[in-house]
C-alpha cells in the first residue's frame, strides 16, 4: 500500500494551484500588482519635498508601500478570503480529503510570497524608473531586507489566518478587516512620516508589527544618515527583527490553535 504524499509536497501543490487560481482573476492581479505603484505615484506627486538628510518623500513612501503590500496581500487577503472559502464550501471540501491543515497554510504562504514578490518587483522598477529611487548597494542591506520580508510574509500570513476566525461570514469579512488595515496603516507611518504623528498614535503603533516593518524597510532603502530622524535616532534593527519574530510566533500559535475548516 502506497503512503500518503507528505505535508510539504501537498503544501507545494496547494501553493501552485492557489497561484493558478489567483492568476485567473485578472482584475485582482492587475489591482494588487499596480495599486502600490499607483499609490506611490500619487503620494510622490503630492508631496514633492524633502523630509531630511536628502531623503525625498517618494523614497520614504517606498518603504511604506512595500509594508502596505505585505499587510494587504497577506493579512487582509487571507482574513477576507478564508471566511469566504469557509462559506462557499471549499474548505469543507478540503476537510473531507487527507490534506493536513499545515499544507493548506503552506499553500497560502506560497501565494502571499508570490504576490508580494511581483508587487515589490514592480514597485522597485517603477521607483527606479520614474521616481528616482536609489537601491541599496551593500549585500548587508539586501540580507536585512530578505530577513524582514521573510518575517513579514510569515507574520502577515499567519496573522491573516488567525484573524480569519473573527468575521462571522464571508460577506461581512471585508467590512471588519479593511477598516482595521487602513487605520493600522495610518498609525504605522505608511502614509505619513511616522515621527510627525501624534505621540499616542506612535506609542500605540509601536506595539504592533506594521510600524516595525516600515521602519525595517526604511533602514534598507534610506541612507543611514536618516536614522537620526527616527524616533530613537537609530534604525533599531535588532529590535525590529525581535518584534517581527514575536508577532510571527504569535500568529503561528493562534492560527494553529484556532483554525477551523468549517462552521459547525
Amino acid at each position: 500500500m502506497k503512503s500518503l504524499p507528505n505535508t510539504w509536497t501537498m503544501g507545494w501543490r496547494r501553493g501552485m494551484i492557489e497561484i493558478r487560481q489567483f492568476s485567473r482573476q485578472k482584475e485582482s492581479v492587475v489591482f494588487t500588482t499596480l495599486f502600490p505603484v499607483i499609490l506611490m505615484a500619487i503620494f510622490g506627486s503630492v508631496f514633492t519635498g524633502e523630509i531630511s538628510h536628502g531623503v525625498k518623500f517618494s523614497q520614504y513612501f517606498l518603504a511604506g508601500m512595500i509594508a502596505s503590500g505585505l499587510i494587504n496581500s497577506g493579512f487582509q487577503q487571507l482574513a477576507i478570503n478564508i471566511p469566504m472559502e469557509r462559506d462557499d464550501g471549499s474548505l469543507k471540501r478540503l476537510r473531507g480529503t487527507p490534506i493536513p491543515a499545515t499544507s493548506y497554510f503552506i499553500g497560502k504562504t506560497i501565494l502571499v510570497f508570490a504576490s508580494i514578490f511581483v508587487q515589490v518587483a514592480f514597485l522597485l522598477l517603477g521607483g527606479v524608473l520614474f521616481f528616482g529611487i536609489h537601491l541599496p548597494s551593500s549585500p548587508h542591506k539586501w540580507l536585512i531586507f530578505a530577513l524582514i520580508m521573510f518575517l513579514g510574509i510569515g507574520g502577515s500570513t499567519s496573522l491573516g489566518v488567525a484573524f480569519s476566525n473573527v468575521p462571522k461570514s464571508g460577506r461581512g469579512a471585508s467590512a471588519v478587516v479593511i477598516p482595521i488595515v487602513i487605520i493600522l496603516q495610518f498609525f504605522s507611518g505608511v502614509f505619513f512620516v511616522f515621527t510627525q504623528l501624534p505621540h499616542w498614535m506612535q506609542q500605540f503603533a509601536s506595539v504592533l508589527p506594521l510600524k516595525w516593518l516600515c521602519q525595517g524597510i526604511r533602514s534598507v532603502f534610506l541612507p543611514d544618515a536618516f536614522a537620526q530622524s527616527e524616533v530613537t535616532h537609530s534604525w533599531e534593527t535588532s529590535r525590529t527583527l525581535l518584534v517581527l519574530t514575536i508577532w510571527l510566533i504569535l500568529g503561528l500559535v493562534i492560527s494553529i490553535r484556532t483554525f477551523k475548516w468549517n462552521r459547525e
Partner: protein, 310 residues
C-alpha cells in the same frame, strides 16, 4: 439441553448472529447515536449497520437529521453520545489515523459553490494529489461524463455538471466508502437517471455508498436498503421493495360494476379476479390491481411519526 439458562441462550444467539454477520463485512456500525443543537435533538438514538458493497439510502424530509448523521459518519461533526465505527475507525478522532481514514473515504457534500477558477481537469488532477492511491484523473473525467467539458472552467458548468464534478472529486481518491449528501437535488429527470447509472457503476466496482435523499424514486431506483428517518429517529430499515411491509400488504382490486367503481382489499388478488371472471362475461371493466407505492408507505410512516410527537 433442558437446563439451558437465559445466559447461554443469548450466548448461542450472539455466536450465530455474529457468524451470520460475517457474510457481509460491516463498513459502518452505529449504536444509539445522539446529537443535539441546543434543545433540538437532531439525531435521537440512531442504530445503523451498513455492509460492504451496498448502496444504503437515508431517506427523510428536510430537517430529519440526514445530513447531521452523515456528517458525523464523515468526521465533520462530533456526537454527544453513542458509538460510531466507520471502516473500523472513530471518525471524530482528530489525531493520527484521521488522515489515513480520509484517504479511504470519499465525501460529496451538499451543494457547494466554490469559486471555480480552475478547469474540470485541473481540479480533479489537483485533488488526486491528496491521496495515496488515486484513480487516474483522465478516467475519472470520463467516468463522470465530463470529457467534453474537461477544459471548461468550473464556474461555467451547469448545476448537474457541477454535481458530477463533485462526485468526481469524491471518487478520485479511490475510496472504499463514498458518502453522497443529496446528490441530485435540482437535477432534471434525465440528468438524474444518468447520475444513477454512474452511482450503480461505482457500486459494481465494489464501493460502498451511503447517500441521503428526500427523493423517493431515488431511494427506490438506487438503494439496496433504505433507512427512513424523521425527527432524528429511524422509523424503519428495509429493502425498498419490503419497506412498510409493502410486499405483503393487502392488494387493492378495483373494477366497475353497475356504473360504480367497486373496490376490494385482499391478500389473494388472483382469486378475486378469478371470481370476477366467472361473474362478468368477457373483459372486466376498468380492472386494476395495485399495492401501496413506496410513496404511500413513506408518507404514512412520516405522518404517523409526526402524529406521535404532537
Amino acid at each position: 439441553m433442558g437446563n439451558c439458562d437465559e445466559g447461554s441462550l443469548s450466548y448461542l444467539f450472539a455466536f450465530f448472529s455474529s457468524r451470520w454477520q460475517d457474510e457481509g463485512v460491516s463498513v459502518i456500525e452505529v449504536r444509539n447515536l445522539h446529537k443535539s443543537y441546543g434543545l433540538l435533538e437532531a439525531v435521537d438514538g440512531i442504530d445503523l449497520s451498513i455492509e460492504q458493497g451496498e448502496i444504503f439510502a437515508i431517506l427523510g424530509p428536510n430537517g430529519a437529521g440526514k445530513t447531521t448523521t452523515v456528517e458525523i459518519l464523515e468526521g465533520f461533526r462530533t456526537r454527544n453520545s453513542g458509538e460510531v465505527r466507520v471502516l473500523d475507525f472513530d471518525p471524530q478522532f482528530k489525531g493520527k489515523g484521521a488522515r489515513e481514514f480520509r484517504d479511504r473515504i470519499g465525501v460529496v457534500l451538499q451543494s457547494t459553490s466554490d469559486a471555480g477558477d480552475l478547469t474540470v481537469y485541473e481540479t480533479i488532477h489537483h485533488f488526486s494529489g491528496y491521496y495515496s492511491n488515486p484513480r487516474n484523473p483522465r478516467e475519472v473525467v470520463e467516468a463522470i461524463g465530463l470529457e467534453e467539458k474537461k477544459r471548461a472552467l468550473v464556474h461555467t458548468l451547469s448545476g448537474g455538471q457541477r454535481r458530477r464534478l463533485d462526485v468526481g472529486l469524491g471518487i478520485v481518491g479511490n475510496p472504499e466508502l463514498l458518502f453522497l449528501d443529496e446528490p441530485t437535488t435540482g437535477f432534471d429527470p434525465e440528468a438524474r437517471r444518468d447520475f444513477w447509472e454512474l452511482i450503480r457503476g461505482l457500486r459494481d466496482l465494489g464501493t460502498t455508498i451511503v447517500l441521503t435523499t428526500h427523493y423517493l424514486e431515488e431511494a427506490e431506483a438506487l438503494a439496496d436498503r433504505v433507512a427512513v428517518i424523521n425527527r432524528g429517529k429511524i422509523l424503519e430499515i428495509d429493502t425498498p421493495a419490503n419497506l412498510g411491509d409493502r410486499s405483503t400488504s393487502l392488494a387493492r382490486v378495483q373494477w366497475e360494476a353497475h356504473g360504480e367503481i367497486q373496490e376490494q382489499f385482499t391478500d389473494q388478488p388472483t382469486a378475486v379476479i378469478g371470481k370476477l371472471m366467472k361473474e362478468i362475461e368477457g373483459e372486466i371493466p376498468k380492472l386494476t390491481v395495485s399495492r401501496a407505492t413506496l410513496e404511500d408507505v413513506y408518507l404514512q410512516m412520516i405522518s404517523e411519526s409526526d402524529g406521535e410527537k404532537k
